[in-house]
Amino acid sequence: MAGVDAFVRWRYRLVPDHIVGEILSKRWADNLIPFLFLLATILVFGANIRDFYTIGYLSDATRQLGEFLLVVIGMVIVMLGGGIDLSVGSTFALANIVTLIAMNVLGWPVWLALLATLVVNGMVGLMNGVLIGYLRMRAFLTTLVTLIMIRAVVDILLLKYSVPISGASVTSALWDYVGDGTLLGLPFSFVVALAIAAITHVFLSRSRPGWHVAAIGGSRRSAYNIGIPVRRTVCMTYVLSGMLCGIAGFLFAARLGGAGADTGVGLDLQALTAAVLGGNSLGGGRGSVAKGALGAVIVLIVINGLVRLGFQSGATSMVLGLILLMAVSIDVRWFKNRHKVLSKVYVSPMFFRLPPRPSTLPDSASPYALNDKLRDVEVIGLDRIEGPEDVILDRDDNLYCGSRHGDIVKFFGPDHQRSEIFAHIGGHPLGMAFDRAGHLQVCVGGMGLYAVSPAGEVRKMTDETNRSPRSIIDDARVRFADDVDIAPDGRIFFSEASIRYESQDWAVDGVECRPNGRVICYDPRNGTTRTVLRNIRLANGICMASDGQSLLLNETWACRVLRYWFDGPKAGKVEVVLDGLPGYPDNVNRASDGNYWLALVGMRTPVLDLALRKPGFRRRMARRIPMDEWLFPNINTGCIVKFDEQGNILDALWDLGGQNHPMITSMREHRGHLYIGGIYNNRIGKYRIPGADRNWTAQDHYWGPAR
């Protein structure tokens, strides 16, 4: 069995299962499938076409790509806003013929021809935009109709002007340069397309109107309800699309200089295929210029490749139809099931072997033996508070606790009957500590480290630390700050329970039992935040040790208390103070006699201990059954333990029937009493410690008497 265990341990240590889920949770994961498709396309056609990788072929292809990319960008903008523009092919043809009429027939200068083209196509886009944006007609059919309309107009123009266009010749160096010239070794049209792509990318991802487009595509109703000008923005997307087609048609005219009946025919299907293939979502809200460019390259390679390989004329249509069908199917299914896949693969348990559980039986000689000491505690604030994870007292005997509603509640001393909301932070306050000046430092789940002044003003201290280069998920943002204590020199050390889970999912982190926790140091003297210790199995309670150079840290899922030196000769070292606890340690705080109080939030069970050695079992559990039925750590019974820095257990306080304090997450000693908090409790307990110093307060003891 030991051999099997060792194998399993190394298997889960060496294979980084969690990476799959983390990659899937990234937005750029959407681009992976199109990217792989692009590689496959290049390999297939590169192997079959002889001069595929040569300069001549590439330069020819990039010239076409420039024009096609502009059309696709227009399509992407429209699709991001939840619409579709099928008229791009006809609009492109219209731009082509308008440019040629302006250049060849009317003899206008190049800039005037461009302007005329942009105006004409902008008007066409405006027509689409007014019909779809303001009159709220259905985009697909409306643009389908404008497709025929504009095609009819193009045909009429062709009948009238095709002879004069082909008869005239333009002598303009600029015109030739637009058609044939190169800039920095790249075809001019391609450079133009790249520049416009970059501008559009910034517009869509960094500007307010661009965000409005994505917001409308994501949820038209919500966008309307929060006051985004839906109609105007939708209209604008079609105008932009029309104008981009105008530039593309202008470049096409400069390159080929001829107008035919088949100009731009089928371009709508190609552009649509490119946009969807790149991963731009039908129905809007999800898309980018980069995705469109990816799709455009693939489609162009396929079309050109099929022609070069000598397939029949219908083959392009067949392959494009097939690709479109496949791309749309993948898009629809992926969009629908992504979060399901993610929730199935994100949880990736690891092997972990806990030391044997010590006995807690009442008549055993164990230091953890069950007793009834907490049965008769005095109850404070019953049913007036929800979720006091941590409690703390100031020098004036006032009691503070966090609440589920995002408040810090203050109970006035000495009797703690009257209460007020001391400060509203917004997130659930977890660990708390007073600094030298009497400001309350609070870890807020989901928000970071906050400070509350004695007057109740809330100030953000930090919510960001250094990004570790090899982490896939963004571990710069502090998402689960848990407990805090302050070094004598003022540096604030706080634990972040997990970098992979939000605070409401702490139990899932326990199922995973992966070292996701860390300790972060915020230095108020220069405002820096650094991660100082990583790979903790749920980093929880923090308390400065007596030497002022180290801190005690609870590693909850490993059921042990660590001691970490941040200063002095042993700086950077970690030692285990207490190992093999019978339960899961939560917060740790100082006691009046120089020892420490430790809260065990729940007790270990043989089943979960065994499950921790069976990561495959836990993974199957996470994938196959609903979360309600998972095997979770028990948090219904807990106790308080007193220990010293050498790791000796001195006392244990229990509530045997679980009447007053079934679960305990924190406790503070103050003037001979112990105040007890629990994250799911509706009360605070007050326990009189026999023989304790009646004048001892944590503030005076640590920071010295008040001046």
Partner: protein
Amino acid sequence: MKGWLFRRAHFSQERIVLAITIALFVLFSATLNRFLTSANLLSLLQSVSVLGILGVGMAIVVIGRGIDLSIVAIMAIPVAWVLYMMNQGVPVPAAFALGLGFSVAIGVLNGLFIAYVEVPALFATLATGAFVYGFGRSQLFNQDIIYLPASASWIAAVGRMHVAQVPIAVVFFAAISLAGFLVLRYTKIGRFFYLIGENYLAARITGIPARPMIVIQYVLSSLVAFIAGTLTAAAVTSMNTRVVNSTLIYDVILVVVVGGIGLSGGKGGIRNVIIGTLLIGILLDGMTILDVRYTLQNLIKSIILLVAILVDSIVNPRDEQTDQQGDI
């Protein structure tokens, strides 16, 4: 007395279109001296009967809140394949069975993608249309136009047949319209189409087999398209596959939408298809007699279609609060 004017029954699109149709008919009858002759009217009917038949197929799908953009490809390619096989010496029944099987297979493919993969109908049928055309042109045969072989001239004879002076195509249009009417009005499947089109989720929750019904819709529209293609081939003794890239598909949508079958589904019936077909037929015939150029005819038709969709969107307005996300 404003109430009766704006009451829905009096203000429906169907009545407006009917009124316009009658007005146009009267106008053309009065102004064009070649219009009101029985020969012209019969040729008018014959020219639009294929369009009308396709309209019936489209109507079945649109009532179920779908759309079939591949209907013209299904009309052209399987029939062209049938002709090609006949030219190659395949027996006529076998060729027809294969062609029919091909079109049904496309209908099933459409239905599966739309009902089970949940691809929007517009895109699924757009893609299958392109696929079928390309597949036919590149894999099944290599010509644009496939002619009816001389050995099967009896088919052409059937195409020229008249039943009591009425061309066979018009008879088929009438028969298919009647069949469509009976299916939609009196069969369980037909009622299910309406319910699915009205509210897909509610229909599914009620226990209607919504997904199989959608597959059946597209199979029916494929079958209708195959019949329309066969009639066309019989009439002109050939099949021109370039029709796929023509504007015929927009004419079909025009017939359905102008007739008053809302694209949001659940409304309308075969009567609307007939009214729409008559309007388009009268319009095209009148323009042809007036010698309007083909490109201009396209422009006029598309403007009418645009107005029709606009009226549809005003009569059945979209609501920002209840609009379906991604319903483009």
